[in-house]
Symmetry: C2
Subunit: 372 residues, 2 copies
């Protein structure tokens, strides 16, 4: 396995920081491997689910709410896990206070009382900064959000495998739509079967971001499934982003239930060709904006990005957009999703690719099909 | 409808604050009605999904990421909704910067540059406090978390109706387990049917916190469903906390698939009696600790609380615990969940109640049953 914590040494040098306090769920996952299962929203029993504190070449601790341990995945073995009391019924719980104690103990142990600490200010609660400012007024906070974003854009080999597995779940979802979609079924009934098949493949609950729309609901790109009944002749647009222990997959298909209207199949083929043009254009050195341009040029404009990356968040850079001059590099992961939206229906098709030394490799293996 | 924003006037007086900046999802829901659908985790396209800013008797604004509007539920009409640009593909998105601009505009408009602002420091990102400290160094931050917690513990009539509806979804889940649980099915397959039935009842996706365990998995109180195959003779413990547009329900049942072993039915009956003892003891003026004591006295100790409240979080006060001397009041909502855990199985039963003027009223209507 690869220890991504070592990468913080680069940021240490570039930003002249002494230590790091990482609190966003996606960055904690990225650096430590720890995955917080987020489908229940925020818990009343922790301040943050996990905080990663790092002094490069010296000390690495993951400060974790003790009732979140059961949901953890692989944690980098160089990390010391420090639990704080979160849930308790024998006295009033004080998870914020307990968490702060562990943070302060780490600061004392590593003599960080007047150090420069790198952090992401958008995700650290005010309470932590306030408490530390009070106790250690000489600590300087340094925003390292952009540095972390840059690191994340090129994936390590283990990350590629995680994303490949998450992409496999998206494939399962697309096969499920083609297998189960029927006239008379609601979108939510279809969604339940899709989600069930993904979870059967993992053996545990899988967070799933999804558009699953039918009929005219596809004309603006989708939306969450509802009790709308699927009719014969409806297109079904299915965009699945499953999260597998912290890494996200992504794919989209559009298919018809029953017989399509004149022209719809042709639209499907046009979008598939645009996707193929995008895929063929992917290689190191190509600018993101070029891929965007080629697909829009072929099928016309659509009111969203042409693609994006995934990783420990469902949308990461490089974004495939008109403005983005980033040059692709091997190890980047790119989802492309061109679309044509008409007045009363829409078609969007998406694959997830890895940028390789010479071109790209499909991470989603599903073959887009319009008919069942 | 009841405007809970007016309640902030009490806190204003008690804490001598001029204004409020509310950022936790549960408090934003509580005061504004706005529900952030959280099942996808945090979005890369907002700083916070929504921020409520209030100057009592003067101005009320909900600062909202513009790509979150589609998921909103009822919003108190006295609120001005201020959207900030979150998702965009035509230029690099800057949701944090856009959000901060709107916060600053509200501060300027209401001349709050040297005011005392009440907030929950555990949920406001450091970035907001840092930016405001830089621009308005005379702003004083006042922690009002405990005041908000206190307000939330007695529910308004509209909240009781929301919780009653969420409790109705939990009822649907329990009926689904009794209807569908079969030998040879996995826990996840059963879970998919439960979740489907709840979502069919609402017409939209329903976040669902759940224990769903079978066989020896019930001996420690449950856990998330897995691919474990349900065997004949297994107990199935099903604890469902569905979130209906921001308000949570709660119930738990334990049933047997096939024939129970000797003594298991008796344990079920004992726990049911303990629950009944707890329910009968609920009335205004009774201390939470007394309810806890009565149930533990009847069936012996269990390694968790005897109950808790629900509202815009799945666990709120009053907690029904040995230490809690809070006296119950009409309008409080209480879930009781006594349990007996043996070496290789466990039984937990839970109802959700409203404290009324004379006693209590069931919010979950499901009748606990051990056999199908």
């Amino acid at each position: 396995m690869i220890s991504r914590i070592l990468k913080l040494s680069e940021i240490k040098k570039g930003k002249h920081v002494d230590a790091f306090l990482i609190g966003s769920a996606s960055s904690v996952k990225y650096f430590s491997g720890y995955f917080f299962y987020f489908e229940y929203g925020s818990s009343p029993f922790h301040l943050l689910p996990a905080i990663l504190m790092v002094v490069p070449d010296q000390d690495v601790a993951l400060i974790l709410a003790d009732n979140e341990m059961g949901q953890s995945s692989y944690i980098d073995p160089i990390i010391t896990v420090i639990l704080y009391e979160s849930y308790t019924y024998e006295k009033p719980p004080n998870p914020a206070g307990e968490c702060l104690k562990k943070i302060c103990a780490f600061i004392e142990k590593n003599k960080l009382g007047s150090s420069r600490i790198g952090m992401e200010p958008g995700s650290i609660p005010f309470l932590i900064a306030q408490k530390l400012d009070e106790l250690y007024p000489s600590i300087e906070w340094v925003d390292i959000s952009a540095d972390i974003t840059r690191l994340k854009s090129v994936k390590d080999s283990d990350e590629i495998e995680y994303i490949r597995q998450a992409a496999g779940l998206a494939d399962i979802g697309q096969e499920a739509v083609l297998k189960y979609a029927r006239e008379g079924m609601t979108e939510l009934e279809l969604f339940a079967l899709v989600h069930r098949d993904m979870e059967a493949a993992t053996g545990f609950r899988v967070p799933l971001m999804s558009d699953l729309s039918s009929g005219t609901g596809t004309n603006s790109g989708g939306g969450m499934p509802t009790n709308k009944i699927i009719q014969s002749g409806d297109l079904v647009l299915s965009d699945f982003q499953p999260c597998l222990q912290g890494y996200w997959g992504d794919s989209c298909n559009t298919m018809v239930v029953g017989a399509a209207r004149a022209g719809q199949k042709k639209i499907f083929i046009r979008v598939k060709e645009a996707l193929e043009i995008g895929i063929q254009a992917i290689k190191p050195g190509v600018r993101a904006s070029e891929i965007d341009y080629l697909m829009r040029k072929y099928i016309g404009d659509y009111p969203h990005h042409s693609g994006h990356s995934v990783g420990t968040a469902y949308h990461e850079g490089p974004r495939i957009t008109p403005y983005n001059e980033t040059e692709l590099e091997p190890g980047m992961v790119i989802a492309l999703e061109p679309a044509i939206y008409k007045e009363d229906y829409g078609v969007r098709l998406e694959h997830l690719m890895l940028v390789t030394a010479n071109g790209s490799e499909l991470l989603t293996q599903f073959k887009h099909r319009f008919e069942q």
